[in-house]
């Protein structure tokens, strides 16, 4: 009896350690549970086609979410990411149309970076909460997208080799497996994830990011330059949003003024599902990516289940319920530990 108790206690202790040391475990466990559940109840769920679909659906939001999560950990929001994504798409697409896609790529990273810096500078100068600052720049940047585009849809029909690199089919894998439809954007997403996760966990900068969001005054007292941390985070977020626009254009060769609308909220939702706190100071890039995948998996699963009383034009509501459920489960798991 005592042996059992101590084993259980030991297990609970190690689970506690695991959960406390890594905020990714909770969302990961939730995701795996959902994945297994759908594999059992939806007969057509467990296939490479479905898995690659889940991944593809997560790429654009995923790239944006990396930056948004970094910002959220430092205690700030960026609601202008969707607009910067559209700007990135246009800048890249317009140059691609002129035959200078590399210049386009550069512009699509640089200008959103500047816009991100502007977000940060306004925040620092005015001390208005970033939620409000970027609510404003969200519209301003959307207007900028309108000016850059002339309000017109940009669509190309010609294929460029650079598209294959940025967001082409991942032939190496796709040829090996029947039905697989992986794209190179997945590789980019993974690379960026590793890079930013490294920045966050393995560098002094990452330490400052956590401190800026976790306890601003304490960090400032220890000499952390909080405005600089936030500024850099806004720049990173802008750059990633611009890159998401590039990835989008590389596959779909289309960008609209409304491109990326709503992405900011998807990214925040994913970050929260992935264990980030809305008040800052906690979260992980891995977790946020698991959050994006979790939402993507839920959507695919709900559609595949083809439940008669859930029409196909309303599955988003079910996904919404499931997101809340996932956060509750995640929270329960944490508190049990």
């Amino acid at each position: 009896m005592t042996v059992v108790t101590s084993v259980v206690a030991g297990w609970r202790l190690s689970l506690r350690r695991l959960l406390l040391s890594s905020s990714v475990i909770g969302p990961l466990a939730t995701w795996m549970a959902i994945f297994v559940l759908f594999s059992v109840v939806a007969s057509n769920f467990l296939s490479l086609r479905t898995v690659s679909g889940i991944l593809n659906a997560a790429t654009l939001t995923g790239v944006v979410t990396i930056g948004v999560t970094l910002l959220m950990i430092s205690g700030e929001f960026d609601l202008s990411v969707g607009s910067m994504m559209a700007i990135g798409g246009y800048l890249f697409g317009q140059q691609a149309a002129k035959g200078t896609p590399l210049l386009g790529l550069l512009l699509a990273l640089l200008i959103p970076a500047v816009l991100g810096a502007l977000n940060g500078l306004i925040l620092i100068a005015t001390r208005i909460p970033s939620f409000i600052v970027t609510l404003g720049t969200r519209s301003i940047y959307r207007g900028l997208a309108w000016i850059i585009s002339g309000g017109a849809l940009l669509q190309l029909t010609e294929d460029l080799p650079i598209y294959e690199v940025l967001n082409g089919r991942l032939e190496v894998v796709d040829k090996l497996f029947e039905g697989a439809n992986f794209r190179t954007s997945v590789v980019w997403l993974l690379g960026l994830l590793l890079l930013v996760q490294y920045l966050l966990i393995r560098t002094d900068y990452g330490n400052h990011v956590f401190a800026a969001g976790g306890n601003r005054a304490a960090a400032a007292a220890q000499g952390v330059n909080i405005p600089r941390v936030k500024l850099v985070n806004f720049i990173i977020t802008g750059t990633l949003a611009g890159f998401a626009g590039v990835l989008l254009f590389s596959q779909f060769k289309t960008v609209r003024v409304a491109t990326g609308a709503g992405t900011e909220l998807s990214a925040i939702a994913a970050a929260v599902v992935g264990g980030a706190l809305l008040r800052g100071g906690s979260g992980s890039i891995w977790g946020a990516l698991v959050g994006v995948l979790l939402i993507s998996t839920l959507r695919t699963g709900v559609i595949l289940l083809n439940i008669p009383f859930i029409p196909a034009d309303n599955f988003e509501a079910v996904v919404g319920v499931a997101i809340i459920g996932a956060v509750v489960f995640n929270d329960w798991l944490r508190r049990r530990a």
């Binding site: 057509n44 086609r49 479905t50 679909g53 889940i54 593809n56 659906a57 790429t59 654009l60 939001t61 800048l91 317009q94 140059q95 149309a97 002129k98 512009l107 640089l110 200008i111 970076a113 500047v114 810096a117 309108w146 850059i148 585009s149 002339g150 309000g151 017109a152 849809l153 669509q155 190309l156 029909t157 010609e158 439809n181 954007s185 330059n225 600089r228 500024l231 850099v232 989008l248 596959q251 779909f252 289309t254 609209r256 409304a258 990326g260 609308a261 709503g262 992405t263 998807s266 993507s296 959507r299 559609i303 595949l304 289940l305 083809n306 029409p311 196909a312 034009d313 599955f315 988003e316």
Partner: protein, 642 residues
Amino acid sequence: MGILSKWLAALALVAMLVAACAPATAEPPGVAPAEETPPEGAATEPAAPIEEPTAAVDPTRSLDLILVQHALCAWDSFWCTVERGITDAADDLGVNVTVLGPDEFDLEQTASLIDQAVAAQPDGIGLTVTDPVLFKEPIERALAAGIPVVGYNAGNGPIADGIDYLTYIGQDEYQGGYLGGLRMVAAGGTQGVCINQQVGHAGLDKRCNGLVDAFTESGLQAEVLAISDDPAESETIIGDYTTANPGADAFLTLGPNGANPFYAWMESAGMGAGDVVHGTFDLSPEITANIESGVTLFGIDQQPYLQGYAAVLMLTMVNRYGIAPALPVTATGPGFVDAGNVGAEPAPDRAVELIMVQHALCAWDAFWCVVQKGIETAAEQLGASVTVLGPDEFDLEQTAALIDQAIAAQPDGIALTVTDPVLFKEPIERALAAGIPVLAYNAGSGPLADGIDYLTYLGQDEYQGGYLGGLRMVEAGGSQGVCINQQVGHAGLDKRCQGFTDAFTESGLSAEVLSISDDPAESQTIIDDYYTANPGTDAFLTLGPNGANPFYAFLEAAGLGPDQVVHGTFDLSPEIVENIKNGTTLFGIDQQPFLQGYGAVLYLTLLLRQNIAPALPVSATGPGFVDLGNVAIVEALAGEYR
């Protein structure tokens, strides 16, 4: 911080310089400007890529048209009005029209005249579909020869007649009864009676249905009273009915055959103007006299002049611009004749000065150049002088102020975009109070929905777009449909899907709506998952480039082609045009903005010169279908006429 801010300043400078240069350069070939999804109500659609016009496409070329009708002005005076419309249109548009008809009423001979017309290889044939069974084969021979065909005056539309001509130009019987009923309610009618001399006649029954619906929807009662061919008997029937139903105070008669005994009953009952509300279909000397004396509120006319004019106009539009009539039935009537316009004589040479007020201009929004082209083309062909007003940038307040500016100039007519019905209501009502006729184009919902008493709204009929698109897809072999909606809850998009699912349901098939998002990668997966879950799906409707774009990505990734799926879409984009050409996409639907500009000028001019009023609250300029048959001309004229 110091180094960082310097670096940032340099970065910002570089970025701004580049940004300043970027949009200034001209659009390269293959990059098509297209309209962004507009605010609700202001439906717009993109233009296709610009290519060198092919030799066959010449929007000014002369045309030879042949019209075949079952009667002629020479022996039936009704047709003189139709033929006047035909001749006027031929003059205005600069086309050659030959009118063929039998020497006396003879359907066999009329049918053979169709074959005669086909043999002459004209650019278009207009005809009265007097006998759909008899005329079916000759019409199909014309279609097989690649000659566009429209029906006018007699017919039921391509769907009801089972013949694939473009449209039927004639009276919308149901709307006649319905809109007449609404007028009678507005005039104080509280209990309606539809006096039907031939119950069981499809056209007449539709009129009565319309009246009853108008009363019912107004929270009032109405019913049908059957009378006979015998006027004396009919007068007694009406008398007995009113004794049994003393509350009945609104009477609709369906022609002189009903109006005549009705007037007799009024006289015997000692009633006069103002005692009851009376409306009727058709005109006769007796009816005209009673409209003038105020006994009869209105007579409904099918506007035969417009039937002749529109037949020539539509065949010309198809040939020159690839613009097709939007609906299977193009309504020329009901045209209401009331105290305001009874007895008005046509003034064909009257000078017409119009002002158009729109929320955007060609100068800063490419979409409007096509509308502008329509306005200019109509003004030139009709000899009207037209001024277009619009703000320097999207500014509804300023647009509203421009309406007042237009009124101050005292033009003969005003056409405008009802972009904001609440904001524009008062200025429009000031124009109406000043006696200036007003109609709406491109943005609006029609006088009934907007609650403003302008003539009509010229724009896309969203429901019909989905419905007719759905029928086309069923015909092309679609058996299980899905409407891919990027913004469920948007009234216009929901109507498109509703029309689509109705078309499948009425064909005994199933269809549903799939909601996608703004993220194309996500949307592609949603479509793929839906297809995995519903592998029987073979007909996909997308509601614009936003939906078509991820759909094509889905097709490519899933390795599907036109052999497995039927695809139709709203709007055009370079990608959609490409896919129409390679057979992947059956059709793209556009709202035909050229027709919005052209139609606005035409309707006002016809009203001022010929007393012709638009028949319906909404005059559909779209759906305009772009398919393999006309994609070349549409592409060639993109940005100008399409």
